[in-house]
Amino acid sequence: MNTKFITDTKLESEIAYFDNISLKLESGDIIDSFKLAFKTFGKLNTDKSNAILVCHALTGDQYVSGNNPITGREGWWSRMVGPNKPIDTNKFFVICSNVLGGCAGSTGPKELQNGSDVAYGGNFPSVTIKDMVKAQSLLIESLNIDKLFSVIGGSMGAMQALQWSIDFPDKILNIIHIAGALKHSAQNIAFHEVGRQAIMSDPIWKNGKYFENNEVPERGLSVARMIAHITYLSEDAMHRKFGRKLQSRDIISFGFDADFQVESYLRYQGKSFVERFDANSYLYLTRAMDYFDHDETFRKNVEFSHNPNNHLKYLIVSFTSDWLFPTLESKMIVNQLNSLSRAVSFLEIDTDKGHDSFLLEEPQLDSVIKGFLTNNFAKINE
């Protein structure tokens, strides 16, 4: 494989170019060439045994730690990844890549079609979690890493971690699967559909060709984000954070301004989202999550895998107040692994912060991830 690596100074990111690769997607479509934007943190040790792949969630990117030049803020998991953090970059070599179909430098609907000066837009082929993982595996291969010590992710990142354990178990030693599931539930598909409808009913969307006039379907995309954001929180957390408090006023206005703090907060979330995320990417990536389904096949795939997978360790974590990926969904994975007496650990963390808990201050999550990585790494290198 001939992979070109280029540093994009504007994006503050490495870009891996895979040319003439003919990546066959699950849909049957073929991408001739593609690129993945990625970042690495820490140093790869001499026996290349300390590499960890962190997979980002729906609206995440490769900026897991350090500065994110797109937002001008810290990376989305800075509290978890870095020197002396739970995923300690003094010890581990951490790789994070923007998924295929994303919009932070990897090939996706926002990028130019091969050999043309027009962006893909709605012509981008449908990608799935399996396709994203396949692309990631090519990146890992090009970095000359035979085996990842761990693949870690929350939400859509957890889906990728699980997919790694199914498709490339011989190339990894363990996965940390946080707030995920074997499948995207009907309720989750429903929420995604509302988000997509919001985008597609924005007149500026124009069948995904909004970029031709240098426009962005801001309204649609921000409404999609507002809906999604509600599902990432919990009723308790919202009540604790906002209650019925009013925003910059003492009395209600008897109108449709953002009277309540919660409204103002959601509007802000929607507005800041459109500045950093591509509407078409949002359509494609939500769809990828919708298509994720290992409900019937997971156990069979683990039991009868043609790649050796008996060495795999699984850490499955859920949160009590997560109603998007409830504990029950995590337990289904645990049950199936236990029925095959695989090395699985499971913890349900007690918190009111909802699905977003994995991104937030949760001391027990920190200690479990840190301990799991450190002690299992020590066991291997004894």
Partner: protein, 227 residues
């Protein structure tokens, strides 16, 4: 003996019952103390279940394979005969359905190790006899209204249940309140009176895997052939 010493003693005795290189499920594994011992000294592959969230988190953080879960609900997910030993240390008396748990232990494991405090110990009998109140002792330190121990039983009760369930007692170790250890099966008189804590190695009578054939696959099931 203090509670912590008695647990350590319990672990050491359990270790003597376990052979090398076995696959073990520790039910109520706490933060993995016994699992660590068995991994280090017996080269065991260990799995654990722990009900307490913080203890389970600690065990996972220490690198053990531990499920945060409830043995009474979660044991059913394990396949037949998938472990060499299933260990239930000092917990049987806290189970809602001890008999069901016991049969689950021997379904999942080829052998089971069960330890429990003996309610037939003379100190307990004496306390109840003299004071007329529910006994509170070092091994059963809780008041009746606030105790995890909801099923009290004696060695005699346990032996009767094993007999009824066609369970074979392969080994049995008793501990006096002073920590002296003896073989329960060899001490005929006064065992139920002097045993403070008891540890049993159990298996099924006439243990023969029976092959059951279905249209899809052949699987073996632990079976009991009643005599």
């Amino acid at each position: 003996m203090s509670k912590i010493n008695s647990i350590r003693k319990d672990w050491s005795l359990i270790e003597t019952l376990i052979t090398q290189d076995r696959k073990i499920l520790d039910i109520g594994c706490g933060d993995g103390g016994l699992m660590e011992k068995l991994e280090n000294n017996r080269n065991a592959i260990t799995h654990g279940i722990e009900l307490n969230r913080d203890l389970a988190a600690n065990a996972i953080a220490r690198g053990f394979n531990v499920i945060h879960g409830n043995a009474e609900l979660d044991l059913s997910q394990y396949s037949n005969n998938s472990f060499d030993y299933v260990i239930l240390s000092q917990t049987l008396q806290a189970m809602m359905k001890p008999k069901d748990i016991l049969s689950e232990l021997l379904r999942i494991g080829s052998k089971a190790v069960v330890s429990f405090p003996n309610f037939g110990h003379w100190k307990i009998r004496l306390q109840l006899l003299i004071s007329g109140k529910m006994p509170v002792t070092e091994s059963l330190p809780y008041t009746w209204y606030d105790t995890p121990n909801i099923h009290f039983f004696t060695i005699k009760d346990f032996l009767n249940l094993c007999n009824e369930m066609n369970i074979v007692i392969e080994k049995s170790i008793g501990l006096t309140s002073k920590g002296r250890q003896f073989d329960i099966s060899e001490s005929v008189t006064g065992v139920n009176f002097f045993t403070h804590e008891a540890i049993f190695l159990l298996s099924y009578k006439n243990f023969e895997p029976i092959k059951i054939k279905t249209s899809k696959k052949v699987f073996s099931k632990n079976s009991v052939i009643a005599n």
